[in-house]
Amino acid sequence: MSVNGVTFLAFLLLAVILYYLIPKGVRWIVLLCASVVFYLSYGWSAGLYLAVTIVLTYAFSLWLGRLAAIHPAGETAQVRKAQKKQLTHKKRLVLAAALVLNFLALGVLKYGAFFVSNVNRVIQSFGQEAFPLPAFLLPLGISFYIFQTSGYLIDLYRGKYPPQRNILRYALFVCYFPQMVQGPINRYDALAPALYEGNAFDWANLQHGLLRMMFGVLKKALIADALAPTVQELYTNFYAYPGSMAFLGAALYCIQLYCDFSGGIDLLCGASTLFGIPMQENFRQPYLSTSLADFWRRWHISLGEWMKDYLFYPLALSKAFGRLTKRARSVLPADVAKRVAPCLATVIVFLCVGIWQGPGWANIAYGLWNGLWMSLGLLWAPVSSKLFHRFSWKREGLFWIVWGVIRTDLLVIIGRYFSNAGSLMSALRMLKHTVTAPGFGSLNAQVFSSVGLTWATVLPICAALAVLLCISLAKERGVQVSQWICQRKWYVQFLILFAGLLLTVLCVYGNTDYVPIAYVYENV
């Protein structure tokens, strides 16, 4: 059931009606049933993988909960300390086993073929016969629900909250349908209360939800899907065009990816709002970031937060990294030495972010590109600070903000050479072509039209982008557009809602020429 099709809308409408018709106490059961139906519409085998994950992580969560409930009761403080240490060790083992099993499933299904193909490359160079490549089914949303359940287990280990004892309620937390296609990676303590409570019908939720859904659908159809053929052509046949067109392709891909991913998130977060259930926000005007670190706080926020809380902090504060800092202090200047551990942890985290994107060396390079630049930024920070102080420059000045945005977007665009080129070699060739043969002189209307950029196609995209930019700038200034609309007079609200609906029907659901393209992050 594609979420940008009419069937999904009908399914959603039915689920919303049923949700508000039945008593509050059992409303979560409607969500669970809807989630099961939604997930099984993608196939029974995918459902089986999900069910195994739910049962397995549920069992481990109870085990961790039981261990967390034990309080050392020795007679002396020394005995209690020893008991506590033993208990922590046991909890750590249980958590490690759960995480290994969880990530093993993800690793085998998602990266099995990549691993075998690399092993084959090595053994073939020694004249050995290659292994057949495994072709596993990749269940919908596996990268998201594995991360979500792992986060839940780590929180239990840290004693953040008690485990959910009702397996059906827990299953709903894992498979709540608006989060299954492309996240966000929700946190249990943030999602669970609204998920289980049985929310009362609220007209404002309906308005906000519908507006956000329309916004997401239009963003995807009018910008992302309209740009997709041009981007595809520029990435696959970049040699046929001047090198500057390859750069344009990467820049357009940045826009396409943002409108695709955030459009999908808007649609699904909007759908969730109809039930009165807020999900974690995943984007905050990422292309207005003034540094790469800032970009990663605004782009795919739920993944960034996950990486920060469950990987970056434990890694950077580990004993091994502590020893590394101590060693660095003995050989490096103090200002550099204290930055070594965070820099290394950043590179490792972004390596994982790259791997998370999907199998392939190009994704690993994408992760390293981001991690290394962020580390360099951290090392450069004291010098930059001195320069700003010396020349009395103001970081909040317009020049530095614009410079920061341009510089960051440039780094993001170059990074996207890697994440969409298909292979590392292809990305490097494309980059080389951009630098060595930009061919600015040969750019003309014919070149643009041959990649599908004519006035007829570009003008509607530019109009949609202009609206998107205005909304983004308003959000940046703290104005919530949907809230602003809902505060207008009733007839203004009606007019905006009607115009939005009309546009959505004309451009998307009622437009037979428009064939929605699958979401980029669907099924990663």
Partner: protein, 76 residues
């Protein structure tokens, strides 16, 4: 407290630790800065700051960081 201010300024010279009270909530203090500060505090005060202590309440202001140091010194 002066020693703490010195450490904080050495780590993040551009941040006004004397007056800011929402360092984490307002995104002034980033995770990279926090790790750097934690590493320095562990070294200078001989304390062990756990991942569980890395919550906004403990890092929103210099006073909150100082309170965290005192608590950990008492506990450890």
């Amino acid at each position: 407290m002066d020693k703490l201010y010195q450490i904080l300024h050495d780590c993040c010279p551009d941040i006004d630790f004397e007056h800011e009270t929402k360092l984490v909530d307002d995104g002034i203090l980033e995770s990279l800065d926090i790790v750097m500060i934690v590493s320095e505090l562990s070294e200078q005060y001989d304390i062990e700051i756990d991942v569980d202590d890395l919550v906004p309440e403990n890092f929103n202001s210099a006073q909150a960081i100082y309170a965290l140091i005192q608590r950990l010194q008492e506990e450890q």
